[in-house]
Symmetry: C2
Subunit: 392 residues, 2 copies
Amino acid sequence: MRSTSLTEAFPAHTPAASQIFTTVLSHGPLTRSEIAGRTQLSAAAVTKAVRPLIEAGYLVEDVAEDARQPVLGRPANPVRVDGGRALFLGIKVTGDELIAVLTDLCCRIRVARRVPLTSREPRAVLTSIAGLVQELLTEADGFGVQVRGLGIAVSGDVDRAAGVVRYSPFLEWRDVPLAELAATTTGLPVTLDNDVRALTVAEQWFGAGVGLSDFALVTVGAGIGCGLVVHGQVVAGAHGVAGEIGHVAIDPAGPRCHCGNRGCVEAIASDPAIVGRIREVTGASVADATAALALAHDGDPGAREVYARAGAAIGRGIATVANLLGPERVIISGEGLAAYDLFAEQIRDAFAAAAFGSAADCDVQTRPLPFEEWARGAAATAIQSFTTSDAR
Amino acid sequence: MRSTSLTEAFPAHTPAASQIFTTVLSHGPLTRSEIAGRTQLSAAAVTKAVRPLIEAGYLVEDVAEDARQPVLGRPANPVRVDGGRALFLGIKVTGDELIAVLTDLCCRIRVARRVPLTSREPRAVLTSIAGLVQELLTEADGFGVQVRGLGIAVSGDVDRAAGVVRYSPFLEWRDVPLAELAATTTGLPVTLDNDVRALTVAEQWFGAGVGLSDFALVTVGAGIGCGLVVHGQVVAGAHGVAGEIGHVAIDPAGPRCHCGNRGCVEAIASDPAIVGRIREVTGASVADATAALALAHDGDPGAREVYARAGAAIGRGIATVANLLGPERVIISGEGLAAYDLFAEQIRDAFAAAAFGSAADCDVQTRPLPFEEWARGAAATAIQSFTTSDAR
DNA sequence: CTTCTTTCATTGACAGCAGAAAATAAGAGC
DNA sequence: GCTCTTATTTTCTGCTGTCAATGAAAGAAG
């Protein structure tokens, strides 16, 4: 095991170094001149910033890169992030379970765990988190590398800077300073963020949002959420609320939503809304989203119609985002994507119809969302904090 | 008259100087230590950055500020922008007229002009612009200060960086490089931008958006537009379209919009939509928005109901913006504000109902919009270009 | 009236970042 | 081995912003 201490800081003290590291992290192996081009820095600056990062082991030179076609001039040697140099933990807290992952510096998942929650009391949840962290720290010992941070993702109104859960409806929490509590309990630096924003960070750095300064991530499932990146930064909202595409009202005559309004996207296209509506329409006793999906896949016309309506609602919601923000890309993800074949067409049609002018040029793609992905998002926020904390 | 040449650059060569100047411009007279506090710079850095700006005459020291309560210690001497140090022109191009203003460096209007357009041909419009600019330059001679830039605002898809009108439905233009054309004709540095974005810049620097990093400006009138500021920057959209709140669809059963969709905010709450609907409902031969307004103010229940519906649509549109972006403030403005008493209540009610959670904490205010305001926005973009062009 | 205290502003030394240019490195082709 | 080309590094330099000390301009205290 390395003799580095937990307090050893990440050696990117200048904005340039930080930017360079992030670029290499997101864009895979890059030669120094490619880095210089992308970051608008001089080659000299890149060399100087890269050296300490290599010395500290966070970047490594890819010498074995001889498979490339022989080019004129001195061969470039690409630099890449040594994912194995550090480990991170990410935990997603839901109303009834914890999902945790151990990732490397490149946010690749090494270990994943799920633990049911017996209570939603902050104290009990904290204990569960502590236990899970201990367990994963033990696993991490096997890799011989230190865990450098813990990211926690919670749905609801979360103040990342303060590390406080302002209000979480699912957990029934108000003003819980979870970051500080978890930091004290686990001894790790903790980054607390909203779950959708955390997932958005993961996409921005390691997923389909790489290199884009403006994109949106829409999650479909038990709720409908949306993470927004504008001007290269995740939108947090002045009052802690942002990206509430689920509560964009698209039909004053639509079904009532738990928020009290009518015709919210979430009241039409969330899993519970779909299940409820299918029960209503077909009279079948559909237990959950899986059953609903099965029914629709069996060809039940009523169920299929419900999915179609859900797809149209999602498409209209996405079009609203596109009209307002004009993102380069919209990424659709979430557990609800299991039903993608049932509403893909409606999403595209409704989007195309409701997008105004060249907002329709926006690239709409889908990405599967494995169950650990939310926790991976949390880990991504921890990586973000670790690699940018010292750089102003 | 000063012997400065047109090519003399604004003496803010460093990011710090630029930031300091912008801060003083927006926040009125400030002492050096207040500037240091706001900009997170050291007092020393402020002193050094301020000196060349004072020497060049862009900033002046307010010595006469003895009206303040006597405080302990050395009295501070506030610094403010000398508005009279430079002049700017702003022109708003509409389908049938040009609105132009001559402003000072603080974006205070000195002279305003309107000229009808006889043709929408780019060449003809350019000729009209050139004439108007000449006229205002003559006026400017009376002030003994040079005009340092021209801002032009056009509705539609405008690429500010390239200085090209990509597509303007009202003018029926496509890919007109208006900035370059106007620069050649007038000899002035030209900044071309979308009209709503220009107005947003004016609010951000000189209006109700001062000091806010996230706000929205909604304009109500012939169309419904929206300028967005996120992370302190105006949102331009990856494809040139952003802030299209007018084409946010809020009711699938609503009236058809000229964009082909149903239930757009603009199809319910724009002046033409209101006029048309009032004709339909009351059977009266209402000529225009003024007549419609008069009818409603006369107490016609049908007309009042139409305005109420328009207000609700605007409120829902604003709630959508608030749910997605969580701005600190929404500023409602535009010619349509003349009817504000008719739909204020509905806007607030619909907003409160449709805003999710603490998105409802967003401060919604109204601001009257004098007819020259659009042109003033154009001037603001010119000021922005002038004061930040040399600072990287 | 002099001296203190307080706060604002300025100065000069200095550290550190990033750019420019020149030097060096590492092949490929001849 | 020589030349050509491109990549990377080195060296030097300019410049920005910070730090700590100093000056300035009041009111307060004696």
